[in-house]
Amino acid sequence: MGFDYTRSLGPTLGRFLTDLRRRKVTGIRGSDGRVHVPPLEYDPVTAERLSEFVDVASTGVVRGWSWIPEPLEAQPLDRPFAWALIQLDGADTSLLHAVDAGSPDRMSTGARVRVRWRAERVGAITDIECFELSDEPSADPVEADEVTMVTTPVHLHYTHSASPTEDPFLRGLMEGRLIAQRCPECSKVYFPPRPACPTDGVPTTDRIELSDRGTVTTFCVVNVPFLGQRIPPPYVSAYVLLDGADIPFLHLLLGVAPEDVRMGMRVEAVWKPREEWGPTMQNIDHFKPSGEPDAPFDSYSQHL
């Protein structure tokens, strides 16, 4: 799951990140007189909007630290490093960042550190590549354009597993079969099966094989392009109620002009070539009209 978030900064964070781009660190004075770095937009004591910017040094002292022997994805350094709370000279509170110390033996609370500026700066906290153990000043400020936005890539990895109740359904799909399950309490037939019957809260148990024919209960014509869309519009997205099922599901309806699609239209599945099958409903490429007469409204009016 990945997305690059685009964040507008507003005046306080905009000033801070613009200054980082200029190799300068800026704090802000709180209502109790403390100088906060990074600058806080609102005071943690009084909730007032803060506005008095204060220049601080790019050197400071370690107030607390931990050692990361195996860095994780996207962290500031890809070799072992320290996370540290660093109080910059001129500030009263500490900033979190990485220290490139080489070894935990060289780290200590009270150690003097300075900013190592990234060569290519964009106006982001990562313009500080990391801190390094040193008592010397960092590189001098330079000119750079103001920033008002920051882009934050977020990439996280998840392993999703199928529910055990979905197993027979997914195995069935691999064989081109449609396996539904009946709720033992209300006898309704669910396709796809559900981990629990949504009206009774019990696992659906009895397996039933359904045919790949059904009725369009309702539909819409998609004319709008959107991110992640798989086929060009216009096309029909239809609720299909398989014969013998008690609940319709959304699928594509092709092989008919959108203006000719009707509620009650009888349809049948068009399967992908067998060699493309996997444990997914996408084995059915789409539905198409079966040519049977339309189903009467009463036969599906309870499924709208």
Binding site: P38, P44, G64, T126, P164, A196, D200
Partner: protein
């Protein structure tokens, strides 16, 4: 104000990985049956439902929506959800019962931490402009706090290991625990650091699980439970997100919540402390003396189902009242990085 009590509690086993989906249905169905069955109730007897969970933990938007399937929520139910640990859902339900509209509530939380990389997922809770882009991991942050406490003389690595050893020993009597057993402090101290100064035993395990509590008011509670755990204080507070601005060792929000809830005089406390040093911090913050039994269940160091673990602490504490082994107990929950947000629920048995 009406008297309201915890009358029922159930939780799943704490396990490293379940085979269910991240919307929790498979974990919730059995514990709903257990807690309702134990009280002789059905879903239609519940006046209000409230849950706690997280989309980022689940890796999908609206994970709590599918969880409603586990209830069988038709006819429709009165229901709400917090994107927090379910201990705060319990708070919302308690408030609802105080309003007098309904007499019973069922609260649940669930989390499948195994789906993602928890250390990185939790970085999403930090300031998105100037902290998250560095991807500080939850262990790295806790390590800073632990060292600050060590260097301030508040605890040492041996005391931290003792917390772990005591938790695992206590968990031997908890069949749902993920980690339990008898371990020597000296053996624990001989293991390598995961994130210096934290060793593996200092960190709660990664756990999949769910928990549920039933609340009832007044006479309804007395009907349902021989010895209800009456809620006498229920408070929560939040601290500043700024690591620099707040006192990372003082835990002001826990101090304030404990004071307001009346934590004095409790015999048993279940503390939601995902790191060993945080248990020591919370004991100090809540003013718990050496005579207070802390985490008889083993606590979250023995099993930490995210977004259910705080609720489970309250359930475990209530259980000591239900079984008559204690008369005043405390359940605590935390949320946010480095104990930013804290909740205290004090419960009493009455003769």
């Amino acid at each position: 104000m009406r008297d309201i009590a915890v009358v029922g509690f159930a939780q799943t086993p704490c396990v490293r990985e379940t085979d269910g989906t991240t919307n929790g249905v498979e974990m919730l169905v059995p514990i709903f049956h257990e807690v309702l069955g134990g009280l002789g109730l059905t879903k239609s007897d519940i006046g209000f439902w409230c849950s706690g969970s997280s989309d980022y933990l689940a890796g999908r938007a609206f994970s709590f929506v599918s969880a409603v399937d586990a209830i069988g929520a038709f006819p429709p139910i009165m229901e709400s959800h917090v994107e927090m640990d379910a201990a705060w859902a319990l708070y919302e339900a308690w408030v609802k019962l105080l309003c007098g509209e309904v007499d019973t509530a069922l609260v649940y939380g669930f989390g499948k931490s195994s789906a993602g990389q928890l250390r990185r997922v939790m970085a999403m809770q930090l300031d998105p402009y100037v902290v998250t882009p560095l991807w500080p991991d939850s262990l790295g942050l806790a390590g800073i706090q632990a060292r600050m406490g060590i260097e301030a003389g508040l605890w040492d690595e041996r005391q931290m290991a003792s917390v772990a050893a005591r938790s695992r020993a206590a968990a031997v009597s908890n069949p749902l625990a993920q980690l339990s057993g008898s371990v020597e402090v000296s053996d624990l101290l001989a293991t390598p650091y995961v994130v210096d100064p934290l060793r593996r035993h200092d960190c709660a395990p990664i756990t999949d699980g769910a928990a549920t509590i039933v609340l009832a008011a007044g006479d309804r509670a007395r009907e349902l439970c021989e010895r209800p755990a009456w809620i006498t204080g229920f408070e929560h507070r939040v601290d500043s997100p700024s690591f620099g601005a707040r006192d990372l060792l003082g835990c002001a929000s826990a101090v304030a919540a404990g004071k307001a809830a009346g934590a004095g005089g409790v015999e048993v406390a279940e503390l939601h402390a995902p790191f060993t040093h945080q248990e020591i911090m919370l004991r100090q913050a809540l003013g718990l003396g050496d005579d207070v039994v802390v985490n008889p269940s083993g606590g979250v160091l023995a099993g930490n189902p995210m977004f259910a673990a705080g609720l489970a602490r309250i359930g475990e504490a209530a259980r000591r009242v239900h079984d008559g082994s204690a008369s005043k107990v405390l359940g605590h929950a935390t949320s946010g990085p480095l104990l930013q947000q804290n909740l205290v629920c004090v419960m009493e048995g009455r003769e």
